[in-house]
């Protein structure tokens, strides 16, 4: 004789079957519901289980499903014993039991039970009877059928929800889990059901969840449930708990996987922080450019007036060299803030990378450089200066990560937007060129990786890094509508991947990727009257002097309204207006419009501590004659004036 487990929530049924089978010599254990039965099965291995369908906690169908997934009970003979067996739909499919008995009067039910046990005794567990025994003893139960249909309806609804739903009994054990909950928690149903809800979470979080559970059961209203964010394995979850008011201390837990949302929020927060730092950086750069204009202008004038043999001549040259360095720095800041001067050309990226890598290689001979460039690489459109700076910054950064020897791999290839959509950003559709720079250096941790694109953030020794290299890389990539990602591990090295979109504009001219040569000084021929407009007194003063040195007559205006008045009074004489764009009160744009109304052919050379992108670009589009970026040298100002007054081909 063998062991039998009876699972039924009515004590009468348990007692009848237990008494009947004990007399036949079977060893019997009983359990009042699915949850209690699962506990029994941890230590007891019955050959036959009789199970009711409708039970509190874990019901019969779920219990059968769980037993069928327990390898230690693989040979178990399952018998569904239920008053609702006759009306149940999908019974065989859901329960996968060996036999089904409809509950009825004991006198006939007892016989069916004994028959089924004989069947279990002589056949292996693969024997399956789909016919329901005992149907002749019961009447049709339409009520139950309707109830079951209603239950089935709710089960379908719950199974199709994307939120995970758990039912937790008064003892804190999970007695129901829908499909989404099983997927989120990643624990098989047979292990999840009957397990302790709190044990899903790390020890640190358990107290919080437990307090929340107590809180909802104490609270007056079931709508008081508030979500808590909690970690489950590598997932971020939002957990909401609701009490079941009319059923003891039971609760419902609603689980939402918010991992993706959190990652996106982090990304957004980081880029917002970068944007705001960028705006700040651009403002600082603009003001510095004004100051540098004054330093440079005055130094230029002094240098002009001095003989080369003068003891201060070399000092002035040094000041001018430092102004150039400072100008590069403010240029990088503006580049980071995406207000860098932007000259769009078609670029041969491979050639640009090859040249930059060669230059870099000459400075770091102990690093072996592998260049793997796709010969079929798409020609891309961009600013050669910025892209060259970008590549150089990446190489310098990689070099710094490898203080001794190391290997640097540079790769280019064409990629489809779909190939890069695994990342946190969602690239726009199209073809991209990928520049990947991999070093075998020291690598970096998560904390540093989060901050590397912030301006002034540096891990390098004081005086070695400005903290602007990668910040300007970021700015340049964003300025080109591209994406950047970085992968790094301490001790394993770092890989930067830059994706730049391939797009061509009809009028872009081809550049071989090298920087454009500074135009040399030219003889100015057309001396005349220039109206100079700038709100900065110091700039106004030094620029006036420079223009006078260049033998122009200068009318200086410290505001937009002064400029209009002076222009109106001297309309016939003024050959050119040099106009600052950013001024308080009447700004450069407004002045420009007004001047055009007074004289449609007016020649205006725009000037700004910001760069051409933005307002200046717009004014160029509607008729401004040129642009000069502060700080400017005497020579570059002269060149710009000449370009406007004596355009090529005229």
């Amino acid at each position: 004789m063998f062991e039998v487990l009876v699972v039924d929530n009515h004590p009468l049924i348990r007692e009848y079957i237990s008494t009947l089978l004990s007399k036949q010599g079977y060893e019997i254990l009983s359990a009042e519901d699915g949850l209690a039965a699962i506990d029994v099965l941890r230590t007891y291995c019955p050959k036959v289980i009789f199970v009711d369908l409708v039970m509190p906690n874990i019901d019969g169908r779920t219990f059968c499903r769980i037993v069928r997934r327990m390898p230690e009970h693989a040979g178990c003979f399952l018998v569904v014993l239920s008053a609702t067996a006759a009306e149940s739909t999908n019974l065989a499919e859901d329960c996968n039991a060996n036999a089904y008995i409809a509950k009825g009067p004991f006198k006939s039910m007892g016989a069916h039970i004994l028959d089924v046990l004989k069947l279990a005794e002589r056949s292996d567990f693969e024997a399956v009877e789909t016919e329901i025994r005992g149907l002749e003893d019961i009447h049709a139960r339409e009520i139950t059928k309707e109830l079951l249909e209603l239950k089935h309806h709710f089960e379908v609804v719950l199974a199709s929800m994307s939120e995970g739903i758990l039912e937790i009994n008064g003892a804190g054990r999970i007695v129901y889990a829908n499909a989404a909950a099983i997927e989120i928690i990643e624990i098989a149903e047979e292990r999840l059901l009957s397990s302790k809800f709190l044990e899903l979470f790390s020890e640190d979080d358990r107290n919080g969840v437990a307090a929340c559970l107590r809180g909802i059961n104490d609270a007056e209203s079931s709508s008081s449930a508030t979500g808590i964010e909690i970690q489950l394995g590598n997932k971020e979850l939002e957990l909401r708990l609701y009490p079941i008011r009319d059923d003891g201390e039971k609760s419902i837990a609603l689980l939402m996987d918010i991992t993706e949302r959190k990652r996106f929020e982090d990304q957004l927060r980081r880029s917002q922080r970068l944007e705001s730092i960028g705006t700040l950086a651009a403002g600082v750069a603009h003001d510095f450019n004004n100051l540098l204009t004054v330093v440079q202008g005055n130094s230029d004038i002094m240098a002009m007036d001095l003989q080369q043999t003068h003891p201060h001549f070399e000092r002035i040259q040094e000041i001018l060299r430092q102004v150039q360095s400072a100008k590069r720095l403010t240029g990088q800041l503006l580049g980071y803030a995406r207000k860098g001067r932007f000259e769009v050309r078609l670029l041969d990226l491979n050639q640009l990378i090859r040249e930059t890598a060669e230059t870099f290689g000459r400075t770091r001979k102990e690093i072996s450089i592998n260049v793997d460039l796709d010969p079929e690489l798409e020609v891309m459109e961009g600013d050669a200066g910025q892209i060259e700076q970008l590549v150089l910054n990446l190489l310098l950064n990689a070099g710094d990560a490898m203080p001794g020897q190391g290997t640097l791999d540079i790769q280019t290839r064409n990629v489809d937007h779909e190939e890069i959509s695994d990342n946190v950003f969602t690239p726009k559709e199209g073809v991209y060129v990928l520049i990947a720079v991999h070093d075998t250096g020291i690598g970096m941790d998560e904390e540093i990786r989060e901050r590397i694109f912030e301006p002034f953030f540096t891990t390098k020794q004081m005086g070695r890094g400005t903290g602007l290299g990668l910040a300007s890389v970021y700015g340049a990539v964003k300025g080109h509508g591209g994406y950047i990602d970085v992968e790094s591990e301490i001790g394993k090295g770092t890989t930067f991947r830059i994706y730049l979109p391939v797009k061509r504009s009809a009028n872009a001219e081809f550049s071989a990727g090298s920087l454009h040569a500074e135009p040399g000084p030219a003889e100015s021929q057309n001396r005349g009257t220039i109206l100079l407009v700038d709100d900065e007194q110091a700039v106004l003063k030094v620029a006036t002097e420079i223009l006078r040195k260049l033998e122009f007559t200068v009318l200086a205006a410290a505001s937009g309204s002064d400029a209009i008045r002076l222009y109106r009074e001297n309309l016939e004489d003024i050959a050119l207006v040099i106009l600052d764009i950013v001024m308080p009160g009447m700004g450069g744009s407004e002045v420009f419009q007004e001047l055009r109304t007074l004289a449609p052919e007016v020649k205006v050379l725009l000037c700004s501590g910001y760069t051409i992108q933005g307002e200046a670009d717009r004014l160029m589009g509607i008729g401004a004659s040129g642009f000069i970026q502060k700080p400017f040298s005497l020579r570059s100002l002269e060149q710009s004036i000449n370009d406007v007054l004596q355009p090529e081909g005229s």
Binding site: P11, L12, E15, F106, K107
Partner: protein, 107 residues
């Protein structure tokens, strides 16, 4: 109540059948208390569940009067109709009392 016949039909000893009836009396009493509470709370679902419990057990023992009274309560509650089950409860209690008397007289 013919205990010897029932014992034969159920495949049990007479004493075991008596114990079975005592279990039924005990669980049905509990269910009747639940039924009363559920009515006080005006909770149709609880009324239905308690009545269903009684109906199933009475059916197993072929106690048709109790099963029918429980069925009526269950059906009303299933439709969300909450009616005072006092009359049905009284009816069932009378039946339970009669069973109790028979059990003690046959002992």
């Amino acid at each position: 109540m013919d205990i010897p016949t029932l014992a034969e039909e159920f495949g049990l000893e007479e004493q075991e059948v008596r114990r079975l009836y005592l279990t039924f009396l005990e669980s049905t009493e509990k269910d009747l208390v639940l039924l009363g509470q559920a009515f006080t709370e005006q909770d149709a679902e609880k009324i239905r569940a308690a009545a269903h419990h009684i109906k199933g057990a009475a059916g197993s023992l072929e106690l048709e009067v109790i099963a029918e009274a429980a069925r009526r309560i269950e059906e009303k509650a299933r439709r969300g109709m909450i009616e005072d089950p006092a009359a049905h409860i009284a009816n069932i209690r009378t039946q339970l009392e009669s069973i109790r008397t028979q059990l003690s007289s046959e002992q």
